[in-house]
Amino acid sequence: MQSVTNLIELTINGRLVRVAQGTSIAAAILMAREATRVSPSGEARAPFCGMGICMECRATVNGVAQQVTCQRLCEAGMEVTTA
């Protein structure tokens, strides 16, 4: 409910989302309710630890796979793809 924030646009799995500047990619993925990875037994997972240790939040960012999205901020025009 921020009143004075700059919104930026990016896509998550092709879907356009708007987030406040300073939002981590993982937080954007959580808000979009997208899963990040599929575990070896086929479970859909989502960002979990928020501090770069559990690696559940890995996703492809601008074509680069395995990015730890809780440790990176959203940028305008970013393309995020999850499993």
Partner: protein, 421 residues
């Protein structure tokens, strides 16, 4: 090629910031390496220098004014040679050579497995706080906060403040132990006030001690959580479950270097020096005690590396007081035995490689478990399931093989300075 610094600080939380600032202000060449997008660690995530005159803002301003070299988004992945750390980040792979090394890697949450803990919508308690600071909007969401530790109330207050409906806050430690802990806080009035602020704010949610999560349920994401007080069970609807069991120090780098570790923390002397000459350690790695402890230890290490014995001596009283607080925290939030019974045979313990409890509980120890089940061999390298296995099975979990974080092949293949590998 490696850059050479008088002091290298691994970690830019309050402890690392304090050491780096004191050392740089005294004229030493200091490099700070930190995995986050900005300095501040978990506790000061999202704070900026001098924004509001807060403690965090003042320290961050001092750090930036002191003229340190700060590498953000960079993790130490290996120690390829004597006095050299290998760092990987957005700028690629770099080696950095240190005259004195400060370990300030902080702590992470302890997660314990229970049925449903891998469902989307389930996250850590510190995680929820980190996500809130990183822009997560939770308006209209129904949250349960559970587990253990002083973070629970702070995070519940944070969620409530951002518009979530906090349906329950469940602390596993029994009320009697919390009362004893609270009664001992007269020595730390600032912490008592902080706690009271959260208590007042927490009027919105039922806080229950001696109460814990049995399982989380839902089809594709968490829809409800089953709670117990050990006598009866009840179900609470939610779409966000924050559950974490206090903190465990990040010891990987200390173990890799060979620092002596005792009772789960790095052993240090009154100057914060570890068992290794010129390797210092500050903050949560020497015992989980929060910002106050990290700051005083960080300053002491800073004074020690610049050779100011007087200032080191002058801070000893505060240091001892903070260590005592850390001990009281450990005691108050010690885990109850019932939590060992939460995983069912088919509950995942290792989230990376999907290793179930029944495959682990018959193993002889951590090494045996890793060799036979792949637990702890995935991307988190046992950071999550290792701490759980220590508690669940009583194993000693001490991994110390590089890379400390998932690293590129380049990082592992890169040549170190000539004649040192």
């Amino acid at each position: 090629m490696s850059a050479l610094f008088d002091v290298v600080v691994a970690g830019a939380g309050p402890g690392g910031i304090a050491t780096a600032t004191v050392a740089a202000e005294a004229g030493l060449r200091v490099c700070v390496v930190d995995g986050n997008v900005a300095a501040g660690g978990q506790i000061w995530r999202g704070h900026t220098a001098d924004k509001d005159g807060s403690l965090a803002g003042r320290w961050l301003a001092r750090l930036h004014a002191a003229g340190c070299t700060v590498w953000q988004g960079a993790n130490v992945v290996a120690a390829p040679a004597e006095r050299v750390l290998r760092v990987e980040g957005a700028e690629g792979v770099r080696d950095v050579e240190w005259g004195k090394l400060i370990l300030a890697a902080g702590a992470r949450e302890r997660f314990l497995p229970f049925p449903g803990w891998t469902l989307p919508g389930v996250m850590g308690v510190g995680a929820a706080q980190a996500f809130l600071k990183a822009g997560l909007e939770v308006n209209e969401r129904r949250a349960v906060v559970a587990g253990s530790g002083p973070l629970l109330l702070a995070v519940a207050a944070g969620l409530h403040g951002k518009g979530a409906k906090v349906a329950a806050v469940c602390e596993q430690a029994p009320l009697a132990r919390l009362m004893k802990f609270g009664a001992g806080l007269w020595r730390h009035p600032e912490k008592l006030i902080e706690g009271l602020q959260y208590q007042v704010g927490a009027g919105f949610a039922p806080y229950r001690a001696g109460c814990w999560v049995v399982r989380a349920e839902g089809r594709e994401r968490v829809e409800r959580v089953v709670l117990t007080d050990g006598r009866r069970q009840w179900s609470v609807a939610c779409d966000l479950l924050a559950c974490g069991f206090h903190l465990v120090p990040n010891l990987e780098l200390a173990l890799l270097l060979g620092c002596e570790v005792e009772d789960g923390v790095v052993r240090v002397d009154a100057r914060q020096m570890s068992s290794l000459e010129e390797v210092f350690c500050v903050g949560e790695m020497t015992g989980v005690g929060g910002v106050g402890k990290a700051l005083v230890e960080g300053e002491i290490a800073g004074w020690a590396v610049v050779g100011n014995a007087q200032r080191v001596a002058a801070s000893q009283r505060e240091r001892v007081k903070q260590m005592e607080f850390a001990r009281r925290l450990d005691e108050a939030f010690a885990l109850r035995e019932e939590l060992k019974k939460l995983p069912r045979p088919e509950t995942l313990v290792c989230r990376c490689e999907d290793v179930v409890h029944k495959a682990l509980c018959t193993r002889a120890g951590w090494r045996d478990a890793k060799l036979h089940t792949r637990a702890g061999m995935g991307a988190c390298q046992g950071r999550v399931c290792g701490a759980a296995a220590e508690f669940l099975f009583g194993w000693e979990v001490r991994d110390k093989r590089p890379p400390l974080f998932p690293a590129s092949v380049l990082a592992m293949a890169a040549d170190v300075e000539e004649g040192k590998s």
